[in-house]
Each structure stands twice: as structure tokens, then as C-alpha cells.
Symmetry: D2
Subunit: 333 residues, 4 copies
């Protein structure tokens, strides 16, 4: 149920409503004159109560804090070296895995040169098989942080495990939740208790509503510093691309939510020579940024080599993305 109060409503009246609904074990969210009561469609208001109310929409929102309905302006996430959301375009780049101190440092330089303000790199890797390389752990986090600092960059890295949240939080500016963990509700709650920005990847078979509901698990802990990532979905078609890049999810999400939406062309297509066209598509569709994998020797990469861009390809791509953004700069909604 969504209640719109009259302009004359006082904080006390709103508080009284809230208390009443809380007693019914309903969660209540207040946004100015609007109140969202989750999971309640009707209520027998007294005449006196009804006087404070302008309109009632008998609809149970499944996500509230993510909804643009209650938060019409774009959210902007601010980091030491980056801003994500609204009119900005943010590039996050780096290798799939942190492989060594030297390697991540070289990759950071390349990433930065291409305009990336955020360095990516996995220290804890979710791998389909337990026998694949699982990441360098804390050592990797240290290298990653150092390489970012040396280049005036922020850090994004994945957290896979509730118990790692404090450790990862020490080293990173953005915690990434991977596609496989999009509905790992315990992990979502754990990062929701921090105030560190969270980049939430869409699950392989997650609907748009599933993604927004998952974000609500983070927000319900008080952390609304959320970035959503479209990274391809699983469809019948995976002969030439690893996933199907759902580029239209960008404007769909932008209609529904105020959180920044970025694209991950690397995972969406899974083949290096398709990454750039996918990145251009995502940019032109209006994404607030992108996250891409780069590697100087993809054939030797410890994970996801086939989709990594070599430095030259990356630098050409980022130049073109910048040109597209400039072309789009004058477009008004």
C-alpha cells in the first residue's frame, strides 16, 4: 500500500501511522509525503486518519528503496577518485584475477591510461570448478590496493563470503557481488550492514525484479550505495557468446530505479573481439559506466583469458567510448 499524505500532514501524524503498521509487523518507508507499507493492501482507516490522507494506492511494492517512484533523482555514488551515476560515465578496468604484484601494477597503469578511475581485480574467485585457481586472497587485495593508490584510482573487488566482508572492506572502495551470489541473501545482508558501496551483478537467470529485490536486501540494512551491473543473461544462444548481453536492461532499470546502472561487456559476450562492440552498445544505450577485463597476455591469464582485452584494444575502445559519450553529451531526456 502506498499512502500519499496531504500537504498539511505533520511528522507526528506520519509517525503515528508508522507505529500502527509496525505493530502489524509491516515494514514502513517514508519518503516526504509518501509512505510505503510493504505487504499490506488495505486497511480500515478511521475517519480521523483518513483526513490526513490524499490518496491510497492498493498495491504492495516488492522493492521500495530501489524504486524511482520514491526517489525520482538519480543516485550518485561518490568515491575518492570517481563519481558514478547521473551524467557521469565511469570506467572500471583491470585483470580478471590479481595474479602478482607486478602484473596488477602494470595493468593499473594501462587501465588508468584508458580513462578508468576504478581498478578491478579478483582476489577471491568464484570458479565453476573447485579445482580451478581460486585467487590470491588477502595478498591479492594488498597488491590491488597498492596498484590503485599508485595510479590515483579507486578499487573494486568481489566479496564471496560473509566472513570476508570485514577483510575486503579494509582494502576496497566498492564491494562487488558476483552473478552467482546475487541471491545469496546472507551475503547481501552482510554488505548491507556496511556503508561501503556495493556493485551488484545481475544473476544469470535473474529477472529485472529479482535484481531489484536483491538490491533491497542490501538497502534494508541501511546501505543504499548501490550500483547495478548488467553482465549478460543465460539464454539458448551460447555458441558464439558466453551469455546474451541484455542491453535493453539498461533503460529498463533506469526507468525503475535511481541506482546507477553500468554494463560488463566482458562477461556479457565472453570473447575479446566482441567486447568493444558490446561496450559501444552499452554506452549508447545510456549506461553510467562499464567494467572491463584487460590482460597483457590473455593466453596466459589465470582466469577468463578469452574475454580479456589487450592493452592496445582497450585503449582504442576507451577512446571511442569517450567519443560516443561526447556525442551524447548534448542529448536531453
Amino acid at each position: 500500500m502506498i499512502i500519499t499524505f496531504k500537504q498539511t500532514v505533520t511528522p507526528e501524524i506520519k509517525h503515528a501511522f508508522q507505529t500502527k503498521f509496525n505493530q502489524l509487523h509491516k515494514q514502513v518507508f517514508i519518503f516526504g509525503l509518501r509512505m510505503a507499507v510493504v505487504g499490506l493492501d488495505h486497511y480500515p482507516f478511521s475517519d480521523q486518519e483518513a483526513e490526513a490522507i490524499d490518496q491510497i494506492i492498493a498495491e504492495t511494492p516488492s522493492y521500495v528503496q530501489a524504486s524511482r517512484r520514491f526517489h525520482p533523482e538519480d543516485s550518485v555514488i561518490k568515491l575518492p577518485h570517481s563519481e558514478i551515476g547521473a551524467k557521469t560515465f565511469t570506467i572500471m578496468a583491470g585483470p580478471c584475477s590479481v595474479e602478482s604484484e607486478d602484473h596488477i601494477r602494470r595493468m593499473a597503469e594501462v587501465a588508468h591510461q584508458g580513462g578508468a578511475s576504478i581498478l578491478r581485480g579478483g582476489a577471491f574467485k568464484p570458479r565453476t570448478s573447485p579445482y580451478s585457481f581460486q585467487g590470491l586472497g588477502e595478498e591479492g587485495l594488498r597488491y590491488l590496493r597498492k596498484a590503485a593508490d599508485e595510479n590515483g584510482m579507486d578499487v573494486i573487488t568481489e566479496v564471496m563470503d560473509e566472513s570476508h566482508v570485514p577483510l575486503v572492506a579494509e582494502y576496497t572502495d566498492v564491494m562487488q557481488i558476483g552473478a552467482r551470489n546475487m541471491q545469496n541473501f546472507s551475503l547481501l545482508k552482510a554488505v548491507g550492514k556496511t556503508r561501503i558501496p556495493v556493485a551488484l551483478k545481475r544473476g544469470m537467470s535473474a529477472s529485472i525484479d529479482d535484481l531489484l529485490n536483491a538490491s533491497e536486501y542490501i538497502a534494508s540494512g541501511g546501505n543504499t550505495n548501490i550500483i547495478l551491473i548488467e553482465r549478460g543473461i543465460r539464454t539458448f544462444d551460447h555458441q558464439y557468446t558466453r551469455n546474451t548481453f541484455d542491453v535493453a536492461a539498461v533503460p529498463v532499470l533506469q526507468k525503475l530505479t535511481h541506482y546507477p546502472v553500468i554494463v560488463d561487456p566482458s562477461h556479457a559476450v565472453g570473447a575479446w573481439d566482441l567486447v568493444a562492440p558490446a561496450a559501444y552498445a552499452g554506452t549508447a544505450a545510456g549506461a553510467s559506466g562499464m567494467i572491463v577485463e584487460i590482460h597483457d597476455h590473455p593466453e596466459k591469464a589465470m582466469s577468463d583469458g578469452p574475454q580479456a582485452l589487450k592493452p592496445d584494444t582497450y585503449l582504442t575502445m576507451t577512446k571511442r567510448v569517450a567519443a560516443l559519450r561526447q556525442c551524447m553529451a548534448t542529448w536531453e531526456d
Copy 2:
């Protein structure tokens, strides 16, 4: 089996090989020094025969004429008022259905104003239910042709039925095969016997190879004037979009085939306010053009109203698409 002959090969020798394979009931295609023998992996060549051969690849191609391997340059389709393929970008626009003489004329003017050189409009409509509007038939074709001629445009329209091919051919410059008929092999063969360009839409659950094999049915009749259209695929996710726009299919197809690849953002997303972002995405991904539905009163459209662009939105979109294309003009592969 793909045979590469030595430079010294004579036409007679190639012909002798061809005859031999034809006697085995195998189809043979010759492209310069290369010969594709469909459905044959090995052959016990005599020593004398082997002398003419440089290399044998024991691989059975399932599509040959579509393959860029044998036809490295982009194909270009030439129409009286348009070129499709290579470095061009072609806009096809018009209403979903031809509704009346007056309406298609008004829509043609709008389409043309936005830079479209090809007018679209359905006279025979494939509808999920037999009780839905099925199109104006030949009357519609007449109106469509006339409206295009008045605006110096070419015509594209769908042919659904083998028996309609001669009739539709009288009025149109491009025959469209709809997604539902992508594997209607009788229809494909029928349009393959004409020399009128064919725009083949990808089926809802067609893989890339399915699409290319379907094009081969057209080409095997001798008609290689083929345009491929990505129009969205059916996936688990159809709450906010009608289909999932597989934008990465554009570069995938461009790697595999020399035929022009265009996008249909209208059907891909199925909601007018998502059409423009999808069109920008398709453009930036490198498509050779797009086909879009427009209508001055979408709420009264006889079919597919929800995805039709109003004239103003269409004109804004085409301006932006032109700007993107200009931005991309300097990009070399």
C-alpha cells in the same frame, strides 16, 4: 570438406573435381581457388589429383554461400533509392500495418523526413491469433508502393505465403521473411527463385547458425541478395521487454557472413520508450541499418501500437542515430 587448390590449377581441373563430387550427390561451391564440398569430410584422392591440391580442411560447412570465409568483402544490396551494407547505414521506417491510403502516405512523409530511404508496412500480417486483423492484402500493397514512390523511397513488406510471392514481388523492392517463418523452408525456396532482395528476420529461438542456414535456403535458389535482421530473441525475461535484444549478434554475424546485418529495435523491445536506446545500441554495435515502426496515433494502431514511435520521437531518434554514425565514421576496423 574445403579444398584449396594450388595457384596453377586450371578451370578444367576444378571442373573435373566438381563433376566427381556431383556424381556422389554432393553440392559443390567454387570460390576462386577454394572449393567447398558439402557433407563430405574425406576422399581418397589419386596421386594425380592430389598434385593440384594445396590444402584440405576436413570440415563440412553447413552454410557456404553465406560464409565470409569464401566471400571476404561485405555484400552491398543496391536498390533504386538505397544501398545496404558495407559503410552505409540505412533506415527503414513505417507503420506496422498499412492501415489506409491516407495513413501510409502521412507515415511515409515522416519516415522520409527522418532519413529513411525505405518504407515499411505490412499488407499481410502474421498474427498469433486468427481473429486479429490480418492486413489489407493487395490493396495495402498498392497504397504502400504509391506512398513510397511519392517520397522517392523503396519498399519493404512481408511475404508470408509461397503463393503470394509473385504478387508481393510486383510491389516491393525488398521481401521480408518474418521471424515465425524463418524456417518455413518452402517459402525460403520460393523467394530464393526470385532475384528480389530478401530481408530475413531471425526466429525467436533461432541460433546464429540456424539463421545462416536459413539464408542458405534462399541462396541455394540463386538469390544472394540477402539482408539479416536481429529482432530480439525469446528468453526467460519478458516482463518489461517483449523479447531480449541480442545486440551482440550484430558483430557475431558480421564475423561469420558478408550479408548486411540490420537491427529491428521495435520488435526487440516491444515498448516505444525503449526503442530509441535499443536503436542507439544497435547503431553503436555496428549494424548496417535499422527498421523501426512509427505511428501518429499508436493507441489506435491496428497492430503493435505499444512499440510504435510517434513522429516526434522518431525524428529525435534519427537525428541522434545520425550523430552516432558521424562519430563512428572515422573508426577503422
Copy 3:
């Protein structure tokens, strides 16, 4: 709109309603006291008209003749040697393609021995590639008919082409519409004009409603001798099975329609050693029969060898299916 008349309604009154709606270009179907008006939700009935009416449901049915709502009893298709629907279980078996007179005769004997009353075999084959074997054509139909007659069996064979309908109709008892042609509306209309039973296969990405709407194209020509076939759908998962066998579609369809529903385990799984378990599953789910592919030398089959059952496997399977049916015989709904 669905109108339920009062018991006292006369045929004249119903006829008057029908005429009125036909004048509005609406299709009308009468089933006893119920009238379905397609594509009309509301109508300003006069007081006099309203007197004849018991109830109005403001709902536009997209399929009518298929709907169990208007036809609560199971439909039964009667052929010279078979009955399909209601409490029966009908086996259709034979090779994918008719390969030779001798071969189809041997296969007919095996099919019959396993309890099949209908012989299947393709004379016109829809193949993904135009270079694959396309069938023996009329010669194949002759062999098929003869082999069936010699064994006291009926014939089912695919018709792919509107222009072949009269030819195929001469030889077959049931015309099959393949999955790729499920929305080839011209073909559906053509078989709808005959009175020969039609077995309509679900398209690879057809929803349940798509299938029922497609059946309505056949029915709208007056031919309601329709059998529906679940043959697997295309999903992300095609590593070990060719399609995903949607066994739950059997009870779903049985709720919605009165037409018999049978399963095609061969195409659903596409691997011979999985066909039997899928057939048992389809039987237990309540299907009215099944259609399976058999071959004595699958490795030499001209099409779909990998999914063909050898005679021994087929005979074991049909014995078990019969046992399951016997076990289920006492179950009441």
C-alpha cells in the same frame, strides 16, 4: 466477451445476437448456451436483449474452439485403425525419413509389433541446412502408405508446404505440422480447409498460448480434428539433450483444451538412451499417446539417427509403457 444465455433462450435470439456481432466484424462462436465474441469486451445491450442474458464475462478469449471452457469433454480423433484422445493411449512409430520401400516395410512390422497403430515416416523433410537429405517426396508417401496398409496401420506424415497438402492428403490419415512451421499461418489455414486430422507440434519457443492460438488457425477453417504434440522446447540447456522435454505441458494443456495431447520423446531429448525414460515420464504424466522414431541401423539413418531406437529397445519400451498404462487404468480424476 463471453455471454451465457438463460435456459429459455431460443435459437432465433442467439442468431440475432450473432448477426449483430458479425456486423461489427467480430467472430462469434456458439456452444449451447454460451456465446464467445472474439475481440469485444463490452456492448451496450438494450433492456430487451439483456433479458435473454444470464451472465457476461468481459474477457476477450484469444482461442475459442480449442478451449475446454466451451467443450468440456475430451475430443477423440477416430481413424480406421486407431482412436486418439480420452482414455486411449496411441503409439505412433516409424523411421524419421522413409528411406526405401523395403526399409519402411521392415520398420512398419517392428512398429506394429510394439503396439503402434500409426506408422510415421517423413517424405518431405524440413532440414536446417538445404544441403541435407530432403526426403523421397511422393515416392516416399507411396511406400509409407503401402507399408501401413500391409500391417493394418494408419499413417502420419509431415506436410511442409501449402501446395503439397492435396498430395499428402491422398496418402495419409494424419497430417503433421512440424515445430518449425507451427506459426506458418498459411500452411495452418490450408490444412484447416481439409477434414483430415492434423497433428500440430509445439514450436521450439512457443508458449502454451501460442500453440493453442496456432491450433485456432486450423480450427477456424472448420477442421477441429486436432492433436497437439509436446516435443521439447529450446532452453539454455542443450548439452546432453537436444531440447528440454516440458513434460508438465501435458497436464497444463489438458486443463486448457479438449484436444488430445501426445508426447514426442525422440525429438524432446534427441539421444536414443534417454528416449525411454522420457516416454515413461510422458506416459505417467497422462499423455494420450506418443510418437517415436525407430531404426534398425541408426548409424546409417538418413536423418536423426542419434535419437532413433533400435527395434529391441523399442519393444522393451513399449512393453513397459503398456505396463504403466495398465497401472494407471484405475486412476480416476
Copy 4:
């Protein structure tokens, strides 16, 4: 790489090989004469080493302990009141959530009456929205255990959170990993460190290989007491069923792995009147058991009411399942 040793090999030789590969940071599994070396395709064996070897298959298995190749016999999981696997058929039944002490006790009686030897019930519930009922927690576990004990049943319940593993382990006989957590690798490792049987549900978009690789995370901790559950996958088709029940996954998995495979018809179809046909299908396909949701007042259920069977329907269904199993008892592979 899979090495088959000669019959004459000694444990010392095998150990020497193992040590060598471990030094290369490769995981090694020994099954009698066979050794699987994960992630290594070739190795330059000395002549002396080669003498011990019968055959080398240069293939990197991604899952080893799950593979039937190394463990040809069916695994059987033994619990106080149940056996799962091989020729047995095990029923797990109960409400979706534990709702109260009284309710779970009543449901346990019904479950038991229908032949279930394992009681299911969620105490920690993974819900799409954070505002939905999240379960009773430890209180729920206590009620569940007590209700099972009173009826001589075992317990299965979901664990969602690494930190809950010790708590849940105190109360349950089988720990269930839900579909959303199938690739929550931290959780898989945590339950892998226990020796409590784990029932692993297939993820909504998990391929068969994904599922087996996920099981390998559990097994690599030493816990090979694993049960696999097919519970429907996400496809384009979710109008009438919540998921698509992939019944053919049962025989596919049985070919590949020795772990017991059971079906969850409740989640697969998501609608109570389709559960029984799906259960019959799963039984006939050869599953080793099923897990179903029951509720005496589904309309008041705290979660998943629409798919819960009322006691009467459940009891009819289990009788029929028992009849099918009896019919199948004589079938030999």
C-alpha cells in the same frame, strides 16, 4: 588427465605419481587402478614411469568425485529411518516453512501417513523480497526435529548461511542447499567440511555440468554424502508453470554420476494441481525419490501456498507413486 595403471602397479608407485603431481599444485584422485589429475593434459613421463602405465586419456575432468566413471555403483545415503539411492524410492514431505509447533506436528503425521520417511520444513527461508516472511529460525528447527522424532522420521531443512551450518547440523539429518545458493561456493565448502548428507538443488539456470561441479565443491571437503535435486529450470515459458520441469535431467544425471537424483515437483511446476502429474513423471523417469510440499490450508501458508498439496491430494498421489514404483520393480537396466 586420466591415467590407468597396469594391474601390477604398487601403492608406492601410485603414491610417487601423486606426490609428483601435487608438487605441480594439481589435485589428484585415486580410484583403484585409475588416477585423475585435475587440470593437466600432458606430462613428459620417464620411460620407467611409463612402464607402470596402461593408458592415458588426455582429458581434464572438471568434476571427478561425482563422476560415475570412477565410481560405477550407485551411491546410497543411509539415515536412521531412510535410505536414498540405488533401488530405493524415498519420499520427503512437509510444509514449505515451519509455521508453528502444532502445525509441523500435524503435517508430519500426514507426511508419514503418505509414506514419507523424511520430514521437510524451512526454518530459514530464502525469499526474493527481504520484506517477506524469513522463517522461525532455531525455534523452527526445534519444532521440526520434534515432529520428525515423534513420527520416526528423518529431517531435511535448508541452510542458507555458512555461519548457520553448526546450528542447523544439530537438528537435521540432511542439509539442503537451495537453488539460489547452488553456486554459493563458500556455503558449499562449509557443508563439505561436515559429514552430514547434503541435498543440492539445481540452480534455476544451472547446466548439468554446473550442478556436478557445484557438488564437487562439497565433495572436495571430504563430504560425498550428496543427493542431487532437479527442481525445474527457468525458461521462456512461465505462464502456467513457475519453472520448466526438466524431467530428462534425471536419466542424464544418472548416466554421469553415482549420487542419488530426486525430483522436486512442487517447485518445478509451482501449481498444486500440476504437482501430481509431475511427480508421476519424475517417478517413471527413474528418480530415486521426491520432495514435496504439503499444507492443510494452502491459502493461509506463510510461503509458497499455491504449490502445496492438501493432505487428501498428497495421500492419493503417494499411493499412485507407490503403484508406479511397484510396476517398475521388475524392470532391469
